[in-house]
Each structure stands twice: as C-alpha cells, then as structure tokens.
C-alpha cells in the first residue's frame, strides 16, 4: 500500500488558490486603509502644516509633539460644534431614513398599481451628485425664494420656514436633504426584505386574528432584522462621509452651525494648513467610528459563523 500522505499538486493548488485570490484585495485594504490610518495617526503627533512631515518653517521634520494637536483640537469650540452636529445629524438621518424607507416599502408592498413607475422616482436621488442638487435644495429652502416665499405668495402670509438661515435649525435642513437622497434606497432594501417573507406565516397570523397593525408590528417587522442591519451599515457609512452636501448647501454656515467632522477635518488639513490638527481630528473621528462599528461587526459576524 502506497503510504503517500502528502496531497497531490492539484489539491494543494486548490487549498492555496482561495487565499491567493483574496490576497490582492487584502493587501490593498491593508496598505490603502490601515496603512493610511497609521500614517494619519503618526501625522497627528507631528507639527506638520502644509505637507506631512514638513514643519512650520518649511524644513522636513519628524519631531513628535505628543498630544499637543489633540489639546488644541479640544480647545476649539468649532470642533465641539462639529461633534455635536455629527451626533444630531447621524442620529436623525439614520432614524428618519429608516422610518421613511420602511413606511414607503410597506405601502408599496400593498399591490400598488404603478409600483414600477413609482420605484425609480423614489430611487433616483441616489444617482445625483450633491455638487448641484445642493444648490437646488438651498434655493428651495431659502425663505426669500423658496418654499416660504411660495406659501406667502399663495396667500399664507404667516407661513415661515427659515431653518436654513437659523443657527439652531440649519443642521436639520442638512438632515432633510440627506434623507431625500437616501431614503429611497433604504426603501428598496426594505421592499426586498418584505418580498422575501413567507406568505404562509402571514396567513397563519391572520387566522390567529392579528390586525394589520399587529401583523406588521409583531410578525413582519421583526423578520426584517437583516434588512435593518444592512440599512444601518449603509446609512452610518454615508452619514460619516457626508461632506459635499454641507459644502453645497450651507458651506458650514450660518456661522459654523452646520460644520461636521468631515468638513472640519478637510478645512484644517487643506484650507488652513494645519495638517497636524486635521490629522488629529481624523483620528478622533476614526476612533468614534470604530467604537460604534466594531461591536456591531463583531456581533454580526460572530453570529453568522
């Protein structure tokens, strides 16, 4: 009997091929994401101004200045505002998008005539870039030319909607435009989830005498859990990356009332030539993302195993 226990070539090839196939993507991610994060962390400890590792005097520098940038960062009221705004924006944006998406999906799932016509109308904003839709929103929300003006010319004299001009409310107009862009996409995700639910369960629940309300609340919505989770990942990622929208709609104003961490970071790194502070704000931002996403990813991925 041939005691040949080593695998043949083909089998060996088959065992390392999968890893080989995965490795380019992995290498890219390691270098271009994690390598760059490491780079950013390093820069955040230097006094880089206009270019990384080039000091204020224009001479190359690798001096580490400890947490000075972080201390400066947290002494800036401007940074505090952008953090608060992020919390308000992300929270509202994710919740409202999910709600609208869910409601629209449920309504569209009622055997609606013309669903094929309505769906793209809800979805299309996702296809547009904010470079210009931002302007359209800005005008529409502008009390002098937009909604308020129209309502008043139509005779509703006391109508007032000037949130975009109001420091305390401007951030909500950003939420509005962001919701406009993505809620249709979320709707599609929920619609897909609804279509995947076994009809027999629904029939059984109706036999049990469940009202429509209870049917959704107790039977259907709990089964949409995977759709909720996917929507959360996508919305959270979009919330963090929101940048063009603010630039186009308010430019961070009125005052600095709609500044977000992404715009803050960009402004310090590129407009203000304070790359060290910009990098430290990026690090804080990444840590916040990690604090939220890692437990989520951990729970999600572990469960699937």
């Amino acid at each position: 009997m041939a005691a040949n226990a080593t695998p043949d070539f083909r089998t060996r090839l088959q065992t390392w091929l999968p890893k080989l196939v995965l490795s380019p993507s992995l290498a890219m991610v390691l270098v271009f994401v994690y390598g760059f994060i490491g780079f950013t962390v390093y820069v955040s400890f230097t006094n880089s101004r206009i270019l990384p590792f080039v000091g204020p005097d224009g001479q190359p520098t690798h001096d580490l200045i400890g947490f000075t940038n972080y201390a400066k960062l947290f002494s800036l009221s401007h940074w505090e505002i952008s953090l608060t705004n992020m919390a308000i924006f992300a929270g509202l944006y994710i919740v409202i998008c999910t709600l609208i998406g869910l409601i629209l999906a449920i309504l569209l799932d009622q055997k609606i005539r013309g669903e094929g016509f309505l769906r793209p109308l809800y979805l299309y904003p996702m296809a547009l870039s904010f470079i210009v839709t931002g302007t359209a929103w800005k005008w529409f929300l502008d009390p002098g030319i937009g909604l308020e003006n129209i309502m008043q010319t139509w005779g509703w004299e006391s109508f007032s909607f000037d949130w975009i001009k109001n420091r305390d409310f401007a951030i909500y107009t950003i939420v509005l435009a962001a919701v406009w862009q993505t809620s249709g996409f979320v709707m599609a995700m929920f619609l897909a989830g609804l279509r995947g639910i076994d009809n027999e369960i629904l029939k059984a629940a109706q036999m049990d005498g469940a009202s429509n309300w209870n049917l959704y609340r107790r039977i259907i919505i709990p089964q949409l859990r995977p759709a909720f989770l996917s929507a959360f990942v996508i919305l959270a990622h979009l919330a963090i990356k929101t940048f063009d929208l603010v630039i186009a709609m308010t430019g961070g104003g009125p005052g600095r009332a709609t500044e977000l961490p992404a715009t803050f970071m960009y402004s310090y790194t590129f407009s203000r030539n304070q790359m060290g502070i910009g990098a430290s704000s990026a690090v804080i931002m990444l840590m916040t993302i990690a604090a939220i996403m890692i437990p989520y990813l951990y729970a999600e991925l572990r469960e699937k195993k």
Binding site: G38, D142, G251, S271
Partner: protein
C-alpha cells in the same frame, strides 16, 4: 511597522521628488481655478500667446472655494512628485510654498523685464521669498469697494457717503424708505470682506496693520476692535433676513435690480453689473468704503512657478514674461474687473471704475496705503485667517456680542499661530 516606515519615507521624500516631477518638455501645465466664462476666456489669451511661441498648454482647472480646492489638488500633486509647472495661488500660500523650497527662482526673468520697478512693493512681498522672485502676479483686486444702485440712491436723495456717519445716515434713509439698505451674502469670506473695510475705516491704516498683519495682541483686543465689531452689528441690522448662505452674485443682483442700495464687495462684482448691461456711473456707482478713500486693501492672483530641477525652464520663463506683459495685463484685467499688477499699464481700455481702481492703486502704492486684505489671505497665514473668519462670522450671525468677539478674536489668533 515596516510598511509604515515606508509610507513615512514616501511622504518625506515628496518634497525632494519635486525635481523629478514636471510636465512634458515644451509644455506648461497650469493649475488654476478660473473657469467661469470671462476669466477663462481671458486666460485663453495667455494660452494662445504661448502657443504662438511653440509652447503647449496643458490646462488643469479645478474650481471651488476660492482656490481651496485647487490648493488641495496641488498638495496631492506635489506629494505624488508630479507638481504642475505653474499654479495659480494667493498671498500666503505662495510664501508657504516658497518656504518649502518648492518654487523656482525667477530673478533672471524679473531682472530682464524690470519687474522690481513696476510692481508695487506691497505686492512684491507676496511674489518674492528670500529675495527671489517665485511667482508672477497677474492682477490686483481691491476689496474695499462699495457698489450702489444709482437710481435707488438718487430717488432717496443720497449722495456718495464720504464718512462712516454719512454711510449710517444713508443706510437709515434707505431703511426708512423700505429698501433693503445693504445686500449681503452670509458666507464667512463675505462677512470677512466687509470686516476688512470696516476695520480699516474704524481704526485707520496703522490699526489695520497692527491687528491683521502684525497680529498685535493689543490691537486685536483694543476698543477700536470693539468699535469695528459694533459697526459690523450695525451692518448686520441693515441686511435683509435672508442673507445667510447667499452667493455674492445674488447679493449683487439685488443691487442691480434695485432691491437693495449698497453692496460691499471686491472689484469682481463689476462683472455682474456689466453682464446685466449696466453702465458704470450711469446705472451703478463704485466707490471706496467710507473712511478708506486713501487706502486700498488688495488681493492678487499670481502664478507660482514650481522648481524644475534647479533651473527655470524656457517655457516657464516664457510663461512668466507673458503674464507680466502689458498687453496681457490690460486684456485680462479689463475682463476680470481687477487692475493690472504693474502700475505702468495704460488705462485706456478700462471703464470708469477700472480707471479709478488703477489710479487708487498707484496712489496707495506710492503713499504706503496699500495693504494686503485679511479676508483674502494677504494679511496673515491661512490658519490665522480662518480663525478670524470663525470669530467674525460667529459675531455677524449673533453668536457673540462685540465684547465677547474681541476676546474670542485674541484667543483664536493666538491658538492659530
């Protein structure tokens, strides 16, 4: 950790790599943000000029945020070791790049063409680093202009205001007549543009220089500064409710349409009036902000020339000399609304406002009244400028009262330095 080290070396080597980066021979690659109709067409004059000399022009336009976007792209290009030949830039950005040792030494061209004699000294301060010419100025914008609708002023019996008090009276007259006295766009840089003129008017040139150029803490925290903020509050009280976030040209449109009396804005606003077929002196008026008739606060667009391995290439020299040629200076600035960067250009082709601008510039340059504009990055570095923006815009939007604004200003400037 190894990979990390490599990143670092790549980053650090970026500056050194500059020498290697260049557009193809006999081509100039020009990064700029002049993309709107008139100004781009004006720049095309330059392109054709160079092409006449057999030099190709690789266009690299990146608009947005008054050049901020272009500066970001420049940072990426330099880091990649692939810097453009020439880059449009403003004020302190040029000096910062000069300090990196990234720019070419244009002294030979300058000497040949006699730039030192014809370019105002205040402007030279931003075109030279360490005694070397590093960039070629294209124009001078002055920012302390007021634009007015002549019909509105005439209807209300208002003459061109000479002093702050005149101005206050005029504003109050308009306000009483139900006209929006001041058209304004509530964006940080527009707020700061107004603040430039207001501070100059409230404290005079010495104060302006001490506060914005020397960043003297005493001046920044002085009562004069509080007075300037109080005047900003007056202006804030006399703009319409809708000012926030408005583009400057929509504010200009309000003046053009007679909905508002005045707008404080740089000389580029003239383009909007001309585009609406309005005639200077007949339909609209241009005058210096009351109390700053003697002074000119300016910002100047320049093209900085990136180092091409220690020598100034022929193409760069040709580009630099073409930029400062009187014919281009005249042709470009007539369209752009600004005035030539050299004081010896004939004003023949310019309209009334342009002629006045050229005369004002020459006078201010010779009397020492030409100052870099804080709002446009010609008084202090970007970090400080933006820190001042933060305070000015917060005050203008009612977040701070004048007293708080003054103390915030002192703090913000010190943090940013």
């Amino acid at each position: 950790m190894r990979r990390f080290e490599m990143r670092l070396r790549v980053g650090a080597a970026a500056v050194a790599l500059l020498a290697a980066g260049a557009a193809q021979a006999a081509d100039v690659e020009v990064l700029h943000w002049w993309t709107s109709g008139g100004e781009a067409a004006a720049l095309n004059v330059l392109k054709e000029d160079l092409e006449g000399q057999g030099i190709g022009w690789q266009d690299m336009p990146v608009a947005g945020g008054g050049g901020e976007q272009a500066m970001t792209v420049l940072r990426a290009r330099v880091t990649a070791g692939d810097a453009p030949t020439a880059v449009q830039a403003l004020g302190f950005d040029i000096l910062d790049w000069g300090a990196q040792g990234a720019l070419a030494d244009l002294n030979d061209v300058a000497a040949q063409e006699g730039w030192d004699e014809v370019v105002p000294e205040a402007l030279q301060a931003f075109a030279k680093y360490d005694g070397k010419w590093i960039s070629a100025p294209v124009n001078v914008h002055s920012t302390n202009w007021v634009w007015a609708n002549k019909a509105v002023l005439d209807d209300n019996g208002i003459a061109v205001p000479e002093t702050w008090e005149d101005f206050v009276a005029a504003v109050e007259t308009l306000s009483a007549a139900g006209v929006t006295p001041i058209a304004h766009g509530g964006q940080a840089w527009q707020d700061a543009t107004v603040f430039d003129a207001v501070a100059m008017s409230a404290g005079g040139p010495e104060f302006y220089k001490a506060a914005f150029i020397d960043l003297d803490e005493e001046a920044l925290g002085s009562d004069t500064m509080k007075e300037a903020f109080d005047r900003m509050a007056f202006i804030r009280a006399n703009v319409d409710d809708n000012f926030s976030g408005r583009d400057w040209n929509l504010a200009t449109a309000m003046v053009i349409n007679g909905e508002a009396g005045f707008q404080m804005m740089g000389d580029w606003a003239k383009g909007e009036f001309l585009n609406a077929d309005k005639v200077p002196g007949e339909d609209f008026l241009c005058f210096r902000f009351p109390g700053t008739q003697e002074q000119v606060t300016f910002n100047a667009d320049q093209f900085m020339m990136f180092d091409q391995g220690g020598v100034v290439s022929d193409e760069q020299a040709a580009l630099a000399s073409a930029i400062l040629s009187p014919s281009f200076q005249s042709a470009f600035n007539v369209v752009k609304g600004s005035v030539p960067a050299r004081t010896d250009v004939s004003d023949e082709a310019f309209d009334a406002c342009g002629k006045q601008g050229m005369a004002d510039l020459a006078a201010a340059a010779s009397s020492g009244n030409l100052f870099g504009s804080m709002a446009h990055g010609h008084a202090n570095p970007a970090a400080v400028k933006n820190a001042i923006y933060d305070v000015v815009t917060a005050h203008f939007n009612g977040e701070y009262d004048s007293e708080t604004a003054v103390s915030e200003l002192v703090d913000a400037v010190s943090i940013a330095q």
